[in-house]
Each structure stands twice: as C-alpha cells, then as structure tokens.
Symmetry: C3
Subunit: 490 residues, 3 copies
C-alpha cells in the first residue's frame, strides 16, 4: 500500500563521478554546496511569501517576535482551521514517528549483528552500520527518492534527482500532496526504509569483508539498486501494474536484501576455520544480551515499518497491522524454539531470536490483508523455515554469520507468497511468486555483478592474518572492549 | 480507568489438552490452523463487502490499483469525512503507540534481570523473556482477552475464547466500539500488558529454576490466572463493583506479579551459596550497564503503560499522567539513594535503579487522580519501602535476585493503598486495601498451588551441579559471552 | 520557537537552605510534604467541580462507575465535541511523546559516557546520570519551570516557584493555555530538556570527579543556572527581544552545557596518566557497543528534542525538522569519518559516532529555518569541527574523556551562528554570535565560580589512589561487571 507515482523534479545526476567511496563522498559534499546554492534561490522565495502573508494579518505581526515569521509560513491560520487539518496532522505525525521507529531498527541491526559475531569484529560492524544509515539517507536524498517514486518513468528505470523541494511550496505540505503525509514525511520515512536493505547484507559478510569495498558496495546497493526494484512496485512500475502485492516490503526490502547478501557470501567465501576437514565449527556470537537488544529493538521498529506502511494513521489499518505483526513475531519465535529443540535437542536462544525476525519478515508483505489466524500460521511457517534454512546453508558450506539470508531472503519470499495463499483480495499466487523472484533475482544479480567486479578490481576479502587478528584491530586500529588504560593496582 | 465489559464471542476452550509446555504449543498450532479455517470463512465476507463499497464509488476504483481494495475496506470515505474521525484516529494511534511502549518494557525486563544476575545465566533469562512475551500474546489471543473483558460473566470467572473478530466488522473499528480505540488497538495494548505479569516472576526465580517447568508455569500465569484477577477490576467484576480503583495496574499487574513471585521463591528456595553458615553473601549482578538500560527502558515503557491507560489521547489525562509518573519515578530514585546511603553507607546504584521502578509501580494505581505533590510523596515512600523490603527479605532468608517481590509486590500494594490516602474522588481506603490484598492473595495462592504441584510432579529446581555450572550451559548448551572461536594470535 | 512568557504563580523559594546535596534533598522532601499539603487544598476543589459537572449530566453518572468521576473532570463532553479539540489533542500528544523521546536521551548519554570511559568507572557514570535526570526533573518542578517561563520578570532574572497547577484548572488544559499543549505537557517536555544540560558536563568530568560534589553541582546547574539563560531566550528575556534565534537549543542547551563542561575540566585537571612526560596517552573507552547504543538513542531522542520544539504537531514543521535533523546527523558522520581518516589515517568509530552528535547539535538552532541543502552543509562543517576540536583540546592538554566540550560547546556555537548564515528569515549573524557567546559565557562563568568554590570548600577531585582503583569501587563499593559469585567449576 504505497503512494502512486508522483510528479517529481527529475534532474540528471552523474553517478559516474563517484569512482570510489572517498571520491563519492567528496562529490556529495561538493554537490551539496552547489545544489544548496541553487536551492537557496528557491528557498529565498519562502520568507518573502511569509512576510506578505503576515503583513495582511497585521495583528499577528504585532504579537509574534521576528523569528515566528518562519512558523507562520508553516501553518497559515486559515489552513489550520480548515476541515481535514487535524486528520492530516495525525496521519503525518504517525508517518514521522514511524520514520523514527524504522530508524531505531538500524540500532537493532547494529547490536544484533555485533552480538552474533565475534568480539574482535564489533567495532567494524558498528562502523559499517553507521556508514550505511548515514550515506543511505544522503544518497536517497540525492537520487533514490525521485528515482523510486518518479514522475518520468518507463516502468523499469527512472533517472532520479535531488529530492529538494522548496520549503515554501504549500502544495507539498498539505493533503494536496497526499492525505497521509507531507513531502518531507514521505521522504524521511522512505529514506529510513531504504538504508535497511544494505544493513541486511552487512551481517552476512561480517568478520571477513574489506571495509572500503563494503562501504562502496553498500552505497551502490542503497543508492542505486534498491530504488530501482522499489520503483517496480511502490513507484508504480511493471510489478505494480501486474497486480503484485507487497504491503511493507517482504520482497522489496527483505528478499532483495537477503538475496543480495547470498550473492555476496558466495563470492566472499566462508570465514576461515568455519568449514574444516574435521567438520563444521560453530563460531559463536560474543554477546547474547547485545543480540537480544537487537531483536527487541527490531520488533519495536517493525511497528513503524509495517504500521507506517498503512501510509496514514487510519485506526483500523494501523491497529490491525500491529496485531498481525505481533502475532506473527510471537508464532515465529515459538516455532523456531520447537523446531530447534527437535533438531538440536536444546532450546537455542539465537534460534528463538531469529524466529521472531522470521515471523516479522514473513508477515510484512500481507500484514494488512491476511486474517489473524493466518498471521499466526505465516509466523509459524516462517519460524520453521528459518531454522531449516540456517542449518541447510551450513550443510551447503555457505557461511552467513547472522542468518541474514535465511531470515530476510527465505522468509521474505515466504511472506510474499503467503499473500497469495492467505489473502482474500484477489492477489494471485503466481503473480506473488513471480514478483518476489524478480526482486530477489535482481538483488542477487546486481550484487553478483557489482561485488564480483569489486573482487576483480580490489579484492573483497581481508587477508587471513587480518581476519585472525580481527577487523577491529586490522581495519580500525582499536578494540571494542579495551582493558582499562590506567591499570587497577592488585 | 478501563473500558466496561463488552459483549464478546464466548466459546469454550479446553485447556486440559495442554498437559505440558510442548504439547501446549503443539495444541496452539493445531488450534490455530483449525480456528483460522473457521476465521477464513468469516474473513472471506470482508473483501466482498469492500468490493461492493468501492463499486458504488466508481471514481475511486478508477484511481486506485487492485490492492487498494483492502485499504478502502479499512476506511470508507464517508467515515473519514465524518465528525469525530480525527479524534478517534489520534486516540487509537496513542493506544497503538502505547502498546509499542509497553512492548519495549519486555526488553527492559530482559536487560534488567540479566544485568542483575550472574553472567552464567544470561542466556537463560533472555530465553525465558522471549518465551513469556511470545506465548503471552498468543495465549491472550486464544483465551485471555475474552476472559478478561467478557460478555458472559458471573463477576468472578469468565470462560474466554479466541479473540478473533472479522476484519470487516466495522462496528469493531469505529467509535461504535469505543471512543478511544478499535477492537485491535484494545487487544494489542492489553496483550502487551498481560505478558508483563509473568515477566515479574521470571526475575525472582532466576539462576535456579528448571526451564521447562518455568515455561509451563509462565503460560498458566499469563494465560489463565492474570485474566481472572484482571477481570475482577477491569472486566467489570466484583472488585470494580465495590468501587476499587486501580488506574493502570499497581495491583492488577504489579502486586499480582510480585506476590506470585513470592510464592515461587518460597517454594524454590534460595540460590546455593546465598545463605550460608558464615552469613549472607551478596551475589552481584554481572552488568550494571545492562541493568541501567533495563530500568531506563522500563521508565520509557511506563509512559505507555500509564499514559495509554488513559484509554484515549485526551490532552489533560495523558499529559497529567506523564507528569505524575515521572515525578514519582524521580522521587523514588532520590529516596532509595538516600535510604541506601543511610543504611549501607554507600551510594548503591542498584538501589537507585530499583528506586525508579518503585516510584513507577507506586504511582501506577493513582497516576490520574492524585495531585502532583502527592505523586512525589508516593514516589518517596515507595523508594524508602523498596530498600527496606529488599533488606528485610534478605534477613528473612528469602532470595529474590532482582528485588521483584519488593519492587512489584510491596510497592504495588503501597501504590494501591495510596489512592485511598491521596485521591479526592471518593476512593475508600478500606476498599483499596481490600482489593489489593485480594489480588495479591490470588496471585500468591495460584502460584503456590500450581508451582507447588509442578514441584511435586517434576521438581522445580535444577541440580546443584547445574546451578553451579550455570543455566546457560546446563539448559541451553551455550554461553552468553563466548570467547572468540578463531583465536587471536598473541 | 518557544512559547511567549506566561503568567505563572511566582512565589519566593529560599534556595540557601540547601547547603549540601543531602540537605538539599531532605529539604526537597520536606518542601514536598508542605507544598503538597497546600496543593491538596487547591486540588480538593477539583473533584467537587467534577461532581457538579457530572451531576448536571445525569445520564453520564448513571453509566459510569465511581472512579470515572475523575475522568469526566478531564474531558467534559462539550469540550471534546468542540471544533479544534482533535487538533489540540494531536498537538499535545506529540509534545508528550517528544518528552518521552527526550527522556530516552538520558539513557543515550548514560550508555555513551560509560562506553567511552573505562570499565572501572561505569557504575559511577550510571549513578550520576540517574541522579541528574531525577533531581533535574524535581528541581524544575520546584523552581526551574516558573523561573524559565516567568510571569514577573526583568528580562535577566526571574524568581521562580513550585510549578503546581490545580488539576481542575481547565484554562491550563485547553487551547486557552496554548494551542500546542497543556500546562502539564509543557512542563514535562521542558523538564526533560532541562536535565540534559547537566548530563553534558557529566561526561567531561568523568573518571576523576568527587561524587557528592558533582551531585551538588549538577543540581545547581540544572536547577538554578539553566533556567536563567533559558529564560533569556525562551522565556522572552533580553536575547529574545534582541531577535536572537535558537530553535531547539544549540545555544540554550548545548553551548551552555559544553562551556559549563569546559570550565569544570579546566578546574578539575586531566586524568592521571593522560598527559605524561612521554606524551599524550589514549585512554580508550571500555565498550564501543555501549557507545553506539548511546549515540543511536540520542539520535532517536533528537527527533523529539527538535521535532517537539515545533511546539505542535504541525505537519509541515514536524516533518521538515525530521528531515533537516537527519540530514545533518548523516552529514556530520560522513564528514567526521573522512576528517578522522585524513588526520588519523584510520576509520575511527568514536569519531564517526561523535560526528553524528556534532551534526545533531549543529542543526538544532536552525532545524526549522534552514534549507535541506544547508542542513547538509551545517552537518558537514560540524563533523569537521568536532574532530579538529577534539584533537586541539588534546594538544592543549585539556582532558575531556567523551568529547563533550567539542560536541556540545563548539558545535553548539557553530549551529547558532549557522542560523545567521543559512536562514532567510532576517536572523542577524551578529545577533546570533552575540547570543551564543552570552549563553556560553554564562555557562562557563557560572561553572567556574560554583565549581571553583566547591573546589576551595571540599575539593572536587578524588585522590590518585581512588582514581587508580576506579570510582566504582572507591565511591560505590561495587564493580560494573562483577565476576560470578558462585564460581563455575573448571
């Protein structure tokens, strides 16, 4: 349930200038300065209009200090008093709060991934996640937003441009733009979404990927690839026109990220010591409390991820999505616990945690259209699938330290297909299968080509020595948990 | 301030089939499939109606893609334009956000309890908390919701049934159901509440309880006992009819959970090595930062726990409850710090943290009806009480590793009684005392009987060897903080 | 964009009675009892009025149980049905949610500061942060709120009084008070803000400050000094009358706190072993995951800090502020990463984290009035500045363990000045410079005088032995991460 494509300011942006991570960022800075010069010209119109407005309302001028001119520009008195303003206000507020909730998923991913990996790579994981969310949001502003929700679009690819909109363009901040949110609310919610796709990959390649290569790859994935497949569905592209349904992104975000991760781990290979002649070794994560913090924060964030995808605060839609999302998460955990107990003969806490995520990923495609009972079944199946998939990938000697391919890839596909099985709104099972495979395949192929090219050009993997020492020391020159510098006397 | 009892679909549910934890869950899965089959029949009516609705609004059909049929079913245009819709929308949104805030209390409990116990039992605590919230929400859907807010009720016991409601029943998603929330908002908020009761027990029995026994016990406590006492007050039962007042659950949730915990620790006995011939030993928690994260998250969640108990977003009620809740928490911490300093001669951080919780539990019964000054006094008294109670239980050789009995039991009773002392709305002190003792006694007796029976049947305590090794290794076969698997060279 | 000064109940409060921390708190308790006695008299009027109100609406009385009398007092039916109620409800809800978000910044500061310092001082940092937020909110109730937003005011200093307002004063809980919030929403949002100022100092003086002295100092800073400078701008004082602009507190909160911190670290001196004959030593923080949790939570809280400073849920204002706040945070991190890479030749994770905070502090003064492009530039400059400043302070042998002076002081000034450079609303660059220097200077001078006097009276620094052992053991008698008490057999 995403907004139909809208008329954006489409402007060509030469991505080729970003030849490397560093250059990309320098370019971003230069671009920012240049663009903001242009934008200032646009923005400069705003206060003038505001002054005019307040000038006609002379009594307001007398009451308000100088800086409240800006405030008046935000909400003219006539508009605030108009019918519909309060509904629009609560709708937009919920989209903004949802953006904040999706934002906190980045902390969830950071703590989950670092908790499920070794102590000597925790700094590296934190650094990567900071990088992804920060460059992800900036790149979505520079290119992704107008590429994913384009005005000029052939159904497969849109060019994209700077997201900028004059602060003073009233049409962008009232129901005239969308009954559910302003242009700015729309952007920040979608920008926080976008960055999650690359974060999924981050966990899968942990403990052995070269940092600068991953920094560049993640920028290309969030900045370039995600808006393309996203636009296929949410931008009104060819999958949307086929009737494909993906409420909040089981495919658009999760299967996309999960299969991108699969391509990367296949190219990268397993961690040293994982698969040896004497068998498969469990490389335990260094902190289960950190992992638990991560999963609970992800669940919290999912209330915004799914709830905000109602694209308004509509009481029925938001509350129903909260219920299906939670039931699926609960069922996923219970199923994972039982499955892992049956298979591994012990109640495995990391499986329980991944079961919650499996249920959440599974319900994401159909949270608004499946029944309550169905949401439990979707969660149960996801919870079983994630355990089987994690164990199967190990058998296949595919090393995914945090289970990202299983949680996001496998359960993302399942959730999308489940819409065809459990919804009653005319969503074709075949279209659902077709759509999720198309999106997953694009994520996989894009990553295979780009990550493969990076491997050929620079290598994607640190040396065995660096891996053994840990990326924290070898890439960052610091430990995650240093001993006290000024030693305590005995 | 809870909704009056409502007409629910009452259906008999044979709980006896759930003879053990595993069987219970299997039964839940089977039931789910069966029920959802039935529900699908109900739900199937929905899209048909939706199609009719959109068919009459032909211009809407032309503008919206296929999947938005579901969306139209949520919010018919006439309703959205109606007077009152925006107030209902903001009310329901606040209840949903409150549910998310109460949800995060489960992470708060997880981190607090694991922080205040030993390193070797952290996995076990995380696992138990995941289990409680996940089965708690599911059981509340299967039985608790319709038992606690029943339609057919003798004032002491209601039968309960699956919470299911057709997605298409408009009466359940408008003010016609309740001016403050939809049926779904109501359920998810109350379900997140329910699971907190068992979490309180989890901390008290930590470090020595048998996992499968606790898993089963917690299911019975959340799924069966909590809805019974809850219905006495919030379901319109006999305590409610007596004029007993408990705004957000000082008794219904906290005293209930605290006295259930007391019964369990009495049956379970103290941790090995806690009370020895040479005196009482302090068994320190393994991570104060984890404990601090827990308490701050609990405080955050309490804004939803108490604020959401206004059952709408009414500006006066919500903002006033935020103020009294915060003042009591602050006063609780200050009083605990001073009291522990006076008694222990040092500024004890775990007492400071428990003081915050004491203040929060204390204000919960009367957050909407006591004055600001009174909220500070309630918090101060709670902060003193919690320290005295923790030390007194130690003297009595009752071992409660996280102070759950003192925080939730003692301060829950205090908060309920305080309504009789400090409110001016005609709340009788005697009724308050009577009500809180009744609820606490039920929690205690239920737990004594059920936990006692489990002790007789299976034993409730791990062996001394398992306790010494720690439950993480003995029950789960893994450590919370494993060393790096691939060792770093010297 | 703060509310204009309002008519408050001004009452003289003799602060001199609080000669020491302990006495201050005892005085607070006594005062509470005394005041609440008086307040009860005021509050007692409420239920009477409520009863009258419900008595006239006889059908309501018949339907509602006894305790709902209180509820009726909150929201009379006529008011709820009135035009504007729903807009007021969503506005007030957003201010309350913002208060909860600003509250969680205190957990962010707690985890950030403890993560960036040594393991042996983590308990001490947690304790200090609990103390600051708890006494901060209480003191703001007792004095700060009515001092900062005074009714009787010479433009430089207001006397202040207990914040109490009768629960039944309808004028305080409707648009009649303010279109954006009730009296209670106003208080709780501003109280959570107030406590952040002292928290900034807490990190800078970590690892060597005497606990009781800091406890007293922080109370004076939050309770006395912050409301004074705050009133200069947000209370309608002389800076406000000059046209000085500070949207959410780059100066009022951050520069104030940062320069107060600078005065304290200058008086306190560096940690033992930081600057030795053989050079400057890096004293590494003990947990990067804790630090990361802190920064992400601070960013989350900033959505309330800045978003709530719109002082309503106005769609344009809130969503626009979310966008500029996030863009600046992202740009700050990218700039800090590149700058630290250029200077230190490694991707430093603590610089990346401080870069996020630098961007957030920088955008805070102008989040509502600068363009999107400008918000990126402000963030980029802040990200560069913070690295340069941290390194420069080290060169100057000024020891600030967490970089508080650089993040909050330097970037707070930058953000305030940037409003003069990048906004188009007539904010004079000179006035901005003048205002931020005035506020920073007051923070610095107040702290220099008070902390200097405390040094002369009691000493502000622990002994070298205590510092070496760590404050956790020497001040609190406990460790942050104790080993398991009941040892695991080999």
């Amino acid at each position: 349930m995403k907004s139909p494509p809208r008329e954006g300011i489409v402007m060509r942006f030469s991505w080729e200038m970003c030849g490397s991570t560093i250059w990309g960022v320098v370019a971003m800075a230069v671009l920012t300065v240049t663009l903001s010069g242009n934008l200032m010209a646009q923005e400069e119109a705003a206060p003038a209009a505001a002054v005019e407005e307040t000038a006609t309302a002379t009594e307001a001028v007398e009451e308000t200090p100088v800086e409240e001119v800006g405030e008046d520009a935000y909400s003219s008195e006539e508009y605030v008093a108009s019918e519909g303003y309060s509904t629009f206000t609560v709708n937009n507020l919920w989209i903004c709060i949802s953006a904040a909730l999706v934002f906190i998923m980045h902390l969830g991913f950071t703590t989950l991934e670092s908790g499920l990996t070794q102590k000597k790579n925790a700094v590296n994981i934190i650094f990567k996640n900071v990088w992804i969310v920060c460059t992800g949001v900036l790149l979505y502003a520079f290119w992704g937003f107008n590429a994913m929700y384009p005005g000029d679009f052939n159904g497969y690819f849109a060019v994209g441009s700077w997201f900028g909109q004059s602060l003073n363009d009233t049409a962008m901040t009232t129901e005239a733009y969308n009954p559910g949110y302003t242009w700015w609310g729309d952007f920040i919610f979608q920008a926080m979404f976008a960055a999650t796709a690359a974060t999924i990959v981050s966990g899968a390649v942990a403990e052995r990927v070269k940092l600068p290569v991953f920094m560049l790859f993640s920028m290309l994935l969030v900045g370039f690839a995600y808006p393309i497949t996203g636009s296929w569905k949410w931008g009104g592209g060819w999958l949307d026109q086929m009737g494909f349904y993906d409420f909040a992104g089981s495919s658009v975000v999760h299967a996309f990220g999960g299969f991108a991760a699969l391509a990367c781990v296949l190219i990268l290979g397993p961690r040293t010591g994982k698969f040896t002649a004497s068998g498969t070794q469990t490389i335990a994560g260094h902190s289960m409390p950190l992992a638990a913090i991560g999963v609970f924060l992800l669940w919290l964030g999912w209330f915004g991820f799914n709830g905000g995808s109602a694209l308004s605060a509509d009481p029925k839609a938001v509350s129903y999505v909260f219920v299906t999302t939670s039931l699926a998460a609960c069922a996923g955990a219970v199923a994972s616990i039982l499955t892992s107990y049956a298979v591994l003969s012990r109640p495995d806490v990391s499986m329980a945690l991944n079961g919650i995520l499996a249920g959440l990923v599974g319900i994401t495609a159909g949270a608004d259209v499946v029944g309550e009972g169905s949401s439990i079944i979707i969660g149960l199946v996801a919870g079983v699938l994630v355990v089987i998939s994690i164990l199967a990938l190990e058998k296949l000697k595919i090393d995914d330290p945090v289970g990202a391919v299983s949680v996001h890839g496998v359960c993302g596909v399942w959730g999308t297909v489940a819409v065809g099985l459990f919804s009653f709104g005319g969503h074709s099972l075949l279209t659902q299968i077709y759509g999720t495979l198309a999106i997953g395949a694009f994520g996989f192929i894009f990553s295979a080509v780009v990550f493969g090219a990076l491997k050929a050009a620079f290598g994607v993997r640190v040396s065995v020595e660096e891996e053994t020492v840990g990326l924290d020391i070898s890439e960052h020159g610091m430990a995650a948990y240093p001993a006290d510098t000024v030693p305590t006397p005995a």
